[in-house]
């Protein structure tokens, strides 16, 4: 049984609509489209595979797992929320809206701090306080859809997440591309 390992990091990332120039082609995540609204593309880490765990008209859940079961498990949930129906990008939110999102993490007994990635992305850092609620969570919004990415320790391992594990997740998220789907003219 998986054990969620505590860390001191909880991130909120502001995603840009501009793709980063990459030498390696990006692989699409899952079925490309999110409810016909946008396409999500990412470079999948070597040795990892992406699979769709759950999908309905409101929510999709993806798992990103390594062939090596001791490696961290990543999952990504994309779900439409009326609260953000008019929000194009996460970095459009004002301080009050950000504070509300921070407060939802506080309900899970997490403390906060701020830092930046090497790409200059603002990060919200959170420290777990409760005994068993240990995980790393990344959050963003695009076109009314909440995107939450979670990193957990590997299956049946007691090992804590390492700095390299966190870097892997940050690199994955830094490469995410969101492309709106243009509707065909009738």
């Amino acid at each position: 049984m998986k054990k969620l390992i505590s860390l001191t990091l909880c991130l909120i990332m502001a995603f840009s609509l501009v793709s980063f120039a990459e030498t390696a082609a990006k692989e699409e995540v899952g079925s490309l489209e999110v409810n016909g609204a946008f396409t999500l593309k990412a470079r999948v880490p070597e040795g990892y595979t992406v699979s769709l765990f759950y999908s309905d008209s409101l929510m999709s859940i993806w798992s990103i797992m390594s062939e090596d079961e001791t490696k961290p498990i990543m999952s990504m949930v994309i779900a439409y929320d009326e609260a953000y129906a008019d929000v194009e990008r996460f970095n459009d939110l004002d301080d009050e809206a950000l504070a509300e999102i921070e407060a939802t993490y506080a309900e899970y007994e997490m403390e906060f701090g701020y830092t930046e990635t090497k790409l200059g992305t603002k990060l919200l850092m959170a420290t777990e306080v409760g005994d068993y609620q240990d995980y790393v969570s990344f959050f963003s919004i695009y076109m009314g859809y909440c995107i939450e990415f979670t990193l957990m320790s590997g299956m049946d391992t007691e090992a804590a997440l390492t700095a390299e594990d966190i870097e892997l997740a940050i690199d994955f998220l830094s490469d995410l591309d969101f492309e709106p789907i243009e509707e065909a003219a009738e």
């Binding site: 929510m59 939802t104 939450e148």
Partner: protein
């Protein structure tokens, strides 16, 4: 002659009763969004750019014709039919809009405090007639924890996502004792992370 006419009349009434459908019972529910905003009404049970036909205000009553079972409900919307996401419907009219939340430093609890709080929750338990609740996390993308005891310090048995449902066995101050209808497991979930939706 009269008997024959009566017989024909009765037969016609019986046929009419079979042909004319009984008026479907529309259940009244109320809009409750996490942030107090209005709820979109759509012309089809999915999220697209162009299927919004109106909106319902926070706390507004809505007549639910039936639940589609996929997170959507068909509603009576004026002279038209519409669709809304069921996670924003509750059986009881909300008394007030949610206030803006601000993050606060979690309280550091001692073991004695944890045990005292847990015992207080156990003592508050009241058995209820079984009803269904749906998981409604603060963030739609997260999950809630299903624990073996009514305390955030209790071990998590499993996690559940938005829309998953439980059968409520008893109500506590801040928790619900529930059973997962799929697995039969019994545990506790945080009451504020659930929605009660009519069947």
């Amino acid at each position: 002659m009269i008997k024959r006419l009566l017989g024909v009349l009765i037969a016609m009434m019986l046929i009419a009763a079979m042909v004319v459908p009984a008026t479907a019972e529309v259940k009244t529910m109320y809009v409750r969004t996490n942030t107090g905003i209005s709820l979109h009404v759509r012309s089809s049970p999915n999220v697209t750019k162009n299927n919004i036909i109106g909106s319902l205000k926070y706390g507004e009553a809505v007549g639910v014709d039936h639940y589609l079972g996929n997170g959507w409900a068909e509603i009576v919307y004026g002279a038209k039919r519409g669709y809304v996401a069921t996670r924003y419907l509750v059986a009881t009219k909300p008394t007030s809009k949610p206030s803006a939340k601000t993050a606060s430093k979690p309280e550091t609890k001692t073991d004695a405090t944890i045990l005292a709080n847990m015992n207080a929750e156990f003592k508050s338990a009241k058995k209820v007639n079984a009803y269904t609740v749906y998981v409604n996390p603060t963030r739609v993308t997260t999950w809630i924890n299903f624990r073996w005891a009514p305390s955030t310090s209790a071990k998590v048995i499993s996690t559940y996502k938005a829309g998953d449902r439980f059968t409520v066995i008893s109500e506590l101050n801040h928790w619900l004792q529930v059973q997962d209808p799929a697995t039969g497991f019994v545990g506790y979930i945080w009451k504020d992370m659930t929605l009660t939706v009519g069947n």
